[in-house]
Amino acid sequence: MLCRVCRNKATVEVRQHNTAYCNNCFVNYFLKQVQRNIQAQKMFSPQDRILVVVSGGKDSLSLWDALIRLGYRVTALYLDLGINGYSERSGERCRALAAKTGTPLHIMSIKEEFGLNVPELARKTRRIPCAVCGRIKRYLFNKFALEGGFDVVATGHNLDDEATALLGNLLHWQTGYLARQQPNLPASHPKLVKKVKPLYTLTERECLAYALIQQIPYLAEDCPYAEGATSITYKEALNHIEQAAPGTKLAFFKGFLKHKDLFKQEEDLELRECSRCGQVTTGDLCSVCRLWEKALSSGNRSQA
């Protein structure tokens, strides 16, 4: 198989585009896709200050590397979830890429912010760790971006993540989530920072290829709480279809974006500020403060 650009021997086959690239041309293709997504969705401009949220995995570290190479003003944020062993190893990989690229990395510990780590918060509130984790992460990166004066928050969600979320939302007819799912989520309140997903057309396999070729020191280990997650089952199902019909995932998600107005909701929820922490919510207390109060009352009960 030959590279479509330089006609040297190909290394990475990209079947959804019916093509293949050598290492150098694949990196160029990947960077062009990221740049095209940023411009097509009006995510940010070279003048903007971008906060990229990194986990230590291949996707977010590849995004961080790509944004640096494209010349954007990037600062990374790693949220230490306090998951025994896994969080330490994830943080090490982020620090390694920061050292390699010479770019700033901030580390925020959930234990230091809330007094409890994710497993402890989940146990005290009797919720599954993934539900607690997602909520806490969104809260903290928005707070950090707002206080730090960042224009936009970028996350490493890729095509597989988006297609999987779409499949899950459709299977359960989550019309509210369908209305909100998009690669560019504008700031709908002065205290909410715009959120973007520049990898939304690139598959997980392409992100892995980029990470391997660029020798990005990513952590090839899933979170221990992800084992048996429904999203992994959906990803496998989509990859099974992709194997038989290359390009299905991309067509599925791009088709959704094209027909997104089908799910548009007439009544927008009224946003206000949480009476306890001041972050944005639809009720009196935001979901993180409610979680925190539940954890505290659980602590009081166990002490009594």
Binding site: M1, A10, T11, V12, E13, R15, A20, N23, G57, K58, D59, C130, D160, D161, T203, E204, R205, C207, L208, A209, L212, I213, A220, E221, D222, C223, Y225, A226, E227, A229, S231, I232, K235, E236, N239, H240, E242, Q243, P246
Partner: protein, 65 residues
């Protein structure tokens, strides 16, 4: 030939080589849309011929939860 599987725990198996990667993937029930295969630090396309003396590594692309 030796196959090193990262699932993500490292595991090694021996299989008979002398065939194309697409055939090896089928034999091991590996979906090449969800994995990358590397030989001597180079990613392989599915038409690549793999010798019996080769060592290949299989990396899963699917992650998360």
């Amino acid at each position: 030939m030796k196959v090193i599987l990262h699932q993500p725990q490292r595991r090694e198996i021996e299989i008979t080589g002398g065939k194309r990667l697409a055939e090896i993937a089928k034999e091991l029930d590996i979906n090449l849309e969800a994995h990358l295969v590397v030989r001597d630090s180079t990613i392989l396309t599915r038409d690549e011929f793999v010798q019996d003396s080769d060592v290949i590594e299989i990396f899963p692309a699917v992650s998360g939860g």
